[in-house]
Amino acid sequence: MYHYDEYDHALVQDRVAQFRRQVERRIAGELTEEQFRPLRLMNGLYLQLHAYMLRVAIPYGTLNSPQMRKLAYIARRYDKGYGHFTTRQNLQYNWPKLEETPDILAELAEVEMHAIQTSGNCIRNTTSDQYAGAAKGEIEDPRVWCEIIRQWSTLHPEFSFLPRKFKIAVTGCDDDRAAVKVHDIGLIMKRGEGGEAGFEVIVGGGLGRTAFIGKTIRDFLGKEDLLSYLEAILRTYNQLGRRDNKYKARIKVTVHETGIEEFRNLVEEEWRAIKDSSLKLPKEEIDRIAKHFEPPAFRVLEDEAPDVDARMKSDPGFAAWVHHNCVDHKIAGYEIANISLKPVGQPPGDATADQMDAVADLAEEFSFGELRVTHSQNLVLPHVERAQLPALYDKLAKHALASPNVGLLSDIICCPGLDYCALANARSIPIATRITERFASQERLDMIGEMQIKISGCINACGHHHVGHIGILGVDRKGEEHYQIQLGGDASENAALGKILGRGFSADEVVDIVEKIVDIYLEIREDGERFIDTYRRVGQSPFKEKVYGTA
């Protein structure tokens, strides 16, 4: 993975010193809250319902064991013993003290981490495929490009005060695990006519108040042109993007209002002017960054692991875990092992300090010290020898980290909602925990198969409800928590926005309604059909009939 050079170290340490002084001035009364708020937000420090919240960037969801141990240490020493992994592959602490935040940032800097650009109208942490460098069929490791984007966008003076925040996601595979089509810019690596690697560039996707699937602005972009093209898009957006209305300021609205053809013309015109500037990436620079992401020293292994097969036959719990949580690796004899942070009845994405420490140790023991965070709020050990799966599983189970439910109904994406968040209108976590309790039977989960439930506690859609197979949105209706249900959303390469089913439901009703929807699917599905396939075949009517008693 990438390691800081002297410039990175100096930048992050300078920022810690600067913020320490700003906090001192705030506490001394030299800065009002109004003056201080933008400064603390530039360092990831929010004020939530119960306390401050610190959002720590995990660049493209990659971290190593010492970094994870540091996150555990901070949770224990400065917070209340846990952290929350978010839908942007970041980590949030829910109880940091203002006066200790500079110390936390100094601790993070020791392991090459920070909280810069985790808030504000700038280019945020670039997200990526959690299987980067391990996935079968990958064109290139997308993290090389994420890191190049990180270096270009960090404290970029021209793009520090954009009309609104800006999120970029990169995938190196056709299978999209990074939801690139619902980002401000999505990059999909593909091959050009001569077989050379490059990018399809997608622009103007996003969730929130007004959801859009992104549109392709360029079918193929050569690698050396990545930064100049991104800069051309950002410049065009920075000029055209609306600043009169916060709710219309994202690039998705700019693209929608301008029209993709016209927007493309403006971008291409800008691009022609800067294409051959210093933004053109020299091959040596690409190679220098790529060196940081060279594969670990994989061993030459047999694909078969008879002990694993035998254990799967005798132990259904282990078999379910291998089946749902483990994914074929690009190297023979290796597996990608997902660690579910979705145990029954627990807040999705939360991990205790002890669990973080355990995962850091397991990464060292089984996965070259490498870890990933997924946008679906789970963790990944990317490079595990298949023969080691039983040993890994047994150790995970000791730490309540072996839930065999990745990709199943109880693997719910869920924002913090009104239990923590100052923006929320309704609670989301209790809906998630009650659904997992209702569907606690592994047999039933297996029978239902792939199913994505995504829950947001407000229209800002941090819980990605628009792209859930079943999406749930919490609203406040006359002083009561109320939940709207959408069906048919999809965050994958076949991205689609869900459609609202009808009138919403009370907190008491909503789990029953989810169960009804699942039941009708089980009744009408054809062989091998996932929920989303059935929905696409039959549409909303059968579900509507069952839920509302009318067509």
Partner: protein
Amino acid sequence: MGQVVIASRLSDGIVVFLAKASAESVEWALQLEDAEVAADDARANEMLGFGEADIASRNKVMDPYLIDVEEQGGQLRPTKYREAIRCFGPTIRTDLGKQAEGPEA
């Protein structure tokens, strides 16, 4: 039943309530039960004013506003669920927040 001034403590963001408010002195408390309940709008607005003046002079607290409270089973409770969550803590982690702490917290 009445109104209470709720705010956040500067040093750690923890929720506090205006407990005593006059032109001479202002005190903040950590528990809703120690808050002064304004019986009418005039006192509520006066309390908010004292709270804001205290923030300007002593800088220990921020973001004050009024919330409606009522008595339920001998206990004060905000009428809005959002404020109830602020006053007691996350509903999914009853080991955290004010609900988990004694009056001395």
